[in-house]
Amino acid sequence: MVFALAGPVCAESADARAMLNQMSAAIRSLDYQGSFAYQHAGRVDTLRVFHAGGAVERERLISLNGPRSEVIRNGRNVTCIQPDGSATVYVNGSGRGLLPLVPDASSRPLGDQYDVSISGSDRVAGYLADIVDVTPRDAFRYGYRLWLDQGTRLLLRSTVLDSEKRVLEQFMFVSLEIGKLPDETELVPGQRELKTTAAAASDEAELRGASEWRVNKPPTGFALVSARRSGLAEKPTEHLVYSDGLASVSIYIEPRNENAADMTTMAGRGTLNIYTYTEGDLRYTVLGDVPVATVTAMARSIGRNTQPRAESR
């Protein structure tokens, strides 16, 4: 009886996880254009997106309410254009897209911290959709509910949920044309003359060997995936990244300002939470799109690593 029940559940989970991989591929490879509503931090914004899929993706995201701003992505180059014509060019190292609230479930298995299941069907922007739930097994991470087009697996709607199933942020297409290649004019800035600033490249270098710091008791499932150090010799900052496969938390340890008072602060907006405190000569900052409990637990568990110190690459 137990085995009979377990079979379909596992199959459903496998199907749902396959859908997530298909979603990631669809977002990158398909041509589409549409408008979507983005609810975050107690407000709703409307945006229009143009996407040309392929080996070198090209995307353009335009705000439809308030002053006109836009983001152009051409492969790994991302240009953010403000209403006054000023633009900042970023090199998008991860090559990720512009749509918000897209969980990256393709690069690594989610592990044991999430249940993935198909929870029903719906209709979004005129498309029939399957609903996939990515549900965390504890309160140290957020969950997702995703609406995927039944035909292409393109993401039509995404919500981020806390442990009480409350919606923290969401986006939803309200009109969408899948398979329609945008015109060239729809993939370039609306303004012809821009004063552009190139954002400085990251000055962080990956550490060789063990970091000087560690989180002694991270929440279950979180493991160190990256340890970096700032190249600024006079104020070196160590940057650790912990991840459970879906959620990531960064920890920065840096010399404190001479005149800074001892202070512990917590800041948050939407899904993002930031915990900062000072201790001795150092300032610690823990941040990520995770619940308050997670950044707090990790902040309170930072300690010296007993392993040999690392060198920057």
Binding site: R43, E70, S94, R192, S250, A267, L287
Partner: protein, 215 residues
């Protein structure tokens, strides 16, 4: 725009103007449309030198700051004055990475990390003449940040108002966080969408939570 006006803006960035001088200058800015872009350029220069990405200063910053100064209640003057000091200091950039580009059509990769570094080394006549390096850490005293997460201070609840700007250090951390997470194969989507939605200064509902513990 006079050289004196530029120098006053520079002093404002460094937190060297008195409250009265600050209000006088900001009123001038409100009537002189050339000063606001100059202020924005100063910020861009410094942020790039300090490798603190993004932050485009809105041209209407003067009105916002004036309003904030005038809202300062006297009993809180000590605390908020200290914030102004906290929010100031540092050097005006000796060089700036501002390039005038003309978008004329579809482009291939426009820049690489190397390009960005190269751009950072290009001098800006407008700013280089004002270069006065100072050792203190820079904190822009006013801003309409693209990622306007609101810091909550343990020491004062007023500090955590919706108009409180985010520490640019945190903005830099956020950019690095998403970059590092993405490079590690994790879900590290840089929320570029947040860079172009309208300012949240007036409308965001902040869930900043204040704690006041000392470790």
């Amino acid at each position: 725009m006079s050289q004196q006006a530029r120098e006053h803006l520079s002093a404002l960035m460094d937190g060297e103007l008195s409250r009265e001088e600050t209000m006088f200058l900001l009123r001038n800015v409100a009537h002189d449309q050339t000063l606001a872009p100059c202020w924005s350029n100063f910020h861009a220069a410094r942020q790039i030198l300090r490798r603190q990405e993004l932050l485009i200063v809105g041209n209407d910053f003067a009105n916002g700051v004036l309003a904030r100064i005038e809202m300062e209640a006297l009993p809180q003057a000590v605390r908020q004055g200290s914030w102004l000091r906290w929010a100031s200091g540092g050097a005006i950039a000796a060089s700036v990475a501002v390039m005038a580009l003309v978008f004329s059509g579809p482009r291939g990769d426009m820049s690489s990390p190397g390009d960005a570094t190269l751009a950072s080394s290009k001098p800006s006549p407008a700013v280089s003449t004002l270069a006065q390096p100072k050792p203190a850490e820079f904190r822009p005293p006013m801003i309409s940040p693209a990622l306007d997460v609101q810091p909550a201070s343990a020491a004062t609840s007023g500090f955590a108002s919706q108009n409180t700007p985010i520490d640019p250090r945190l903005q830099s951390y956020l950019v690095r966080h998403y970059d590092a997470a993405g490079s590690s194969g994790q879900s590290g989507l840089m929320p570029y969408v947040l860079l172009i939605v309208p300012s949240q200064q007036q409308s965001a509902e902040i869930k900043a939570d204040v704690s006041s513990e000392q470790r």
